[in-house]
């Protein structure tokens, strides 16, 4: 039997590789977006701290902006530094 493929549609899935299922700030799944966004993906990225904890970028930014002095990780209270690696 010979099959001729006339056309095909590629489907891909993606997921964030984070060390937790949910964001520690909004408690929503990382595979979704933060509650202020509509679609998960590049518009609602995840960021990591040097302490290895991970959050929605929008969530951690709101927290850091509210802390004038001593910006700490919400989970472990170490000084917050973005892990740019």
């Amino acid at each position: 039997m010979k099959v001729i493929i006339k056309n095909w549609t590629g489907v891909a899935t993606w997921k964030w590789i984070a060390n937790d299922d949910n964001c520690g700030i909004c408690r929503m799944p990382f595979d979704g977006c933060c509650p202020d966004c509509k679609l998960p993906g590049d518009d609602c990225p995840l960021v990591w701290g040097e302490c290895s904890h991970c959050f929605h970028m929008h969530c951690i930014m709101k927290w850091l902006q509210s802390q004038q002095v001593n910006q700490q990780c919400p989970m472990c209270r170490q000084e917050w530094k973005f892990n740019n690696k």
Binding site: G24, R27, C34, P35, D36, K62, S66, P74, M75, R77
Partner: protein, 287 residues
């Protein structure tokens, strides 16, 4: 006057001034005097619902909480005094209000079991209902007691972890919750304080709450928990009162305020028994 005494005296003065003076700090903590317009962020709405779900599905022992049906911002909580503490079996009723940007900022929280603003149940739980702990941002001094060391608010905290922190204030020796009181000022102070708290718990947080003699607006589901728990704990209450009957008519001086509190266990016993017979009669009628 030793240095310790001077420090404690100063702390007491500072606290007295704070509770009287600064109007802003008054409104800062009080969920019932907060006039922030209701405009919760999307994150806040989603988080409050998640926090409530955690409370309903994974309820910490001795803690009950319900959301307000009309306003997501309000949460009503009941903490039952842990066993083997002077708070044993007492019903401590709290109102919480989440700010618009929750969980960036902590909720405001107030204790309403105060005998109408007359009883201070704990060095951290004022008679005004103010709760002085760093997790609520209402205590900014150094961390003294284990409860304070859990430290300040972070968005990784949630309502159930906050309520657990408050529950931990209701411990075996609350005298030492007072900042700087890691040793007794006068030997026996801690026991005297426990004597007062035990009596006030039975009078205000048990009998007063079951009868709701201060007319608090308690959600029905929590009222039912209070009544049912009263029947469950009744024998324990009675045992405590009977072991203290010999103290009836005597007074104990509060080590913090120097006010003498009269222990009227004989009257309290009558009140407890009559509440019990009333409640069990209405319960058997329902069945």
């Amino acid at each position: 006057m030793s240095l310790q005494i001077i420090i404690n005296f100063t702390l007491t003065r500072i606290r007295a001034n704070m509770s009287k003076g600064d109007e802003n700090s008054y409104f800062y903590w009080d969920p019932l005097n907060d006039h922030e317009a209701d405009s919760l962020t999307n994150t806040a709405m989603a988080r409050i619902k998640k926090d409530l779900m955690t409370l309903y599905t994974d309820t910490p022992p001795g803690i009950f909480a319900v959301g307000d049906e009309k306003n997501l911002k309000f949460i009503y909580a009941l903490i039952i005094g842990p066993m083997n503490t002077p708070y044993q079996g007492g019903f401590f009723y709290f109102v919480l209000k989440c700010p618009n940007d929750y969980p960036i900022q902590p909720p405001r929280m107030k204790l309403l079991t105060t005998d109408g603003g007359r009883v201070r149940f704990n060095p951290n739980l004022y008679e005004t209902g103010k709760i002085c702990v760093s997790i609520l941002g209402t205590w900014t001094g150094p961390a003294w007691s284990p409860a304070q060391q859990i430290s300040t608010w972070s968005p990784a905290q949630q309502i159930s972890s906050l309520l657990l922190t408050i529950q931990s204030l209701l411990n075996e020796k609350p005298y030492y919750n007072e900042p700087g009181f890691d040793k007794e000022m006068v030997p026996g102070d801690s026991d005297r304080y426990n004597e007062i708290i035990t009596y006030q718990t039975l009078r205000v947080a048990v009998c007063g709450m079951v009868e709701n003699d201060c007319g608090l607006n308690i959600p029905e589901s929590l009222q039912n928990i209070i009544k049912q728990s009263f029947l469950n704990f009744y024998e324990e209450y009675l045992l405590t009162i009977e072991s203290k009957l010999h103290l009836s008519g005597t007074s104990v001086v509060d080590p913090f305020t120097s006010v003498a509190i009269k222990l009227d266990y004989a009257e309290l016993r009558n009140r407890l028994v009559s509440i019990h017979s009333r409640l069990s009669a209405s319960k058997s009628q329902e069945e």
